[in-house]
Structures are given as C-alpha cells and as structure tokens.
C-alpha cells in the first residue's frame, strides 16, 4: 500500500459499470443507449439502472427523444460528471502510485 488515502476514491464512480459509462461518455459529446450498451458490453438492464443512478447524481444529462420510428435516449456527461471522473482518476492514480 502506498499510503494514498482510500477515502478520496469515489466509490460511486468506482463501480465498474458506472465507470465504464462515464468513460464512454467522457470521450464523446453525446451518445444513445444502444451505443453505451455496445461500447461498455453491459446488458440493457444494467445500462438503464446505472445510467439512471448517474443521472440522479447529476453526472449525466438525459434526453428521451420522441422523434422517428425508433425512440432514442441520448446521454451526455455533465460538468459535474466530468469533474467526478477527473477526480476519480487522480485518486486512483495516487493510490496505484502512477
């Protein structure tokens, strides 16, 4: 152990499914539910439940579009989500001595 404070590691972000969703959205402007599912490899149910929790935390903005024959739920990272991910990366880097 390097002595880095574990307390600084945001356990909400640390959850693998949520982390995968956050990272996927950090590198694009916005993406829909299907794209998140494909890129993260999560089941539809997992994407829906974790995205919902991230939205409640204020990390994701969600638009449940109504246009077109196939409805499209579009997600984007909020500034709070971007900051949470950056903070998490700093903490995990410190913990791992990177």
């Amino acid at each position: 152990m390097t002595g880095a404070p574990l307390d600084e590691l945001d356990r909400f972000v640390h959850e693998p499914a949520r982390l995968a969703i956050l990272v996927t959205l950090a590198i694009v402007e916005e993406a829909d539910f299907v794209y998140l599912q494909r890129r993260t490899g999560l089941t539809a149910g997992n994407v829906a439940s974790h995205a919902s929790r991230l939205e409640e935390a204020g990390y994701l903005a969600v638009d449940k579009g109504t246009g077109g024959p196939r409805r499209r739920t579009v997600y984007r990272l909020t500034e709070a989500g971007r900051e949470a991910l950056a903070s998490y990366r700093r903490a995990i880097s410190a913990l791992l001595g990177l």
Binding site: V23, Y35, A44
Partner: protein
C-alpha cells in the same frame, strides 16, 4: 420525461489520457463498411459515366450528390440502429469540417488545372503531354481526399484506397487510357472491402431490444 440539460460542449476530450481511447472509438465508428460502400458505389457510378458516355463526363461530377442522402439514410436504418448513435467531440467535428474544406479547395484547384489544360489543347494542340496527364486527374481528385481521410481517421484501409487511386491514375496516364478505369478500380477496391465489413458488422450487432431504454 427528463429534459436534456445542455452542458457546455467539450472541446475534444480535453484530456491527453483519453485521446487514444477517443481515436480508437472514432475508428470503430467507421468500421461498419457503410462509408466504403457509399464511396465505392459513387466511384462506380462516376466510372460508368466516364466509360460509357465519355462525351458526358462532366455529368460524373453530379454523381456524388445523388449518393450522399441515400447513404446517410441507409446508415441510420442499418448500422446506427444496431451500433447506436454517437456524436463525437466538437474538436473532432471541426477536424472533419477542415478536411472537407481542404478537399473542396484541392478539388477546385485540380478542376482549374484541368480546364486550363483543356483550353490550351483546344487552342493550339501544343500541350499534348498536359492533356494526357489530365487523364489522371479524376483519379488524383479521388486520391487526395482519400489521403486526407486516411490522415484524419488513421484507418489503414483508407490509405490503401488512396494508393490504389494514385497507382491507377499513373497507369491510366501511362497507357493513355480512359480515366474511368482508375475510378472503377478504386471503387471496386472499396466495395470489395465494404461489403465484408458490413456483413461482419450486421452479424456481430443484431438489432437491440430497447425495452429497457
């Protein structure tokens, strides 16, 4: 229904640690073969005009316009429905726009050269060598945007397409053949790659069940 809270659009990832991941995802988004198929079919259409009605070769210039909207719609209905919708960063889209502008400038430049060569030949017939070089221009006009596209996307197969267009342009000039052959060869190379890519993509990505979305 939750409303989308519009946040400030990021300029790129703004993070060197994530740039590699962004590039990989961008390349992956182009792996469905639709772009290869669309441009390949467009080139076949242009080649057909050159080869079957050389007197109407100018019509080849309008072929691309006829392909853009149908290909975008096909992409939306086939691969986007399976792989999902994504909008890349503002920085990425700015790069795409800059590349398109570059292609336009190059195209206009080459068109000017071609027109000047044509006029000179018609007036005096003293620049025959320029006229024969002009036969390679259609292929070059394709090779340069492809080279720009390869630089932008980092995709090896697009570099190969650019090389095919370049090599066939040189061959057309050397053999004093119809420029349509260069377009045909490049189009066939793109179709030959695009079809298996699309088949693979469709097999790998079945239509999702969106009940959970």
């Amino acid at each position: 229904m939750a409303e989308l809270r519009r946040e400030r659009a990021p300029r790129g990832t703004g993070d060197p640690g994530l740039d590699g991941l962004e590039r990989a995802n961008y390349r992956l988004a182009l792996s469905d073969g639709i772009l290869d198929l669309g441009v390949g079919l467009m080139l076949l259409g242009m080649a057909a005009v050159w080869l079957l009605a050389e007197d109407l070769a100018g019509l080849a210039a309008i072929v691309p316009a006829a392909f853009i909207v149908p290909m975008l719609e096909i992409r939306r209905r086939t691969t986007e429905a399976r792989g999902g919708y994504v909008r890349f960063t503002a920085e990425r889209r700015a790069s795409e726009r800059a590349a398109l502008r570059g292609m336009l400038v190059l195209g206009m430049g080459f068109l000017t050269v071609a027109v000047v060569a044509y006029v000179l030949v018609r007036r005096g017939g003293t620049v025959v060598s320029m006229a024969s070089i002009g036969a390679g221009l259609p292929g070059l006009l394709i090779a340069l945007p492809l080279a720009l596209g390869a630089a932008l996307s980092g995709l090896m197969r697009v570099k190969v397409y650019a090389l095919v267009a370049l090599a066939t342009s040189a061959t057309v000039v050397a053999l004093e053949a119809n420029p349509g052959w260069s377009l045909l060869a490049t189009g066939v190379a793109m179709l030959g790659t695009g079809v298996p890519l699309l088949v693979h993509y469709l097999r790998k990505n079945p239509l999702p069940n969106l009940d959970a979305a």
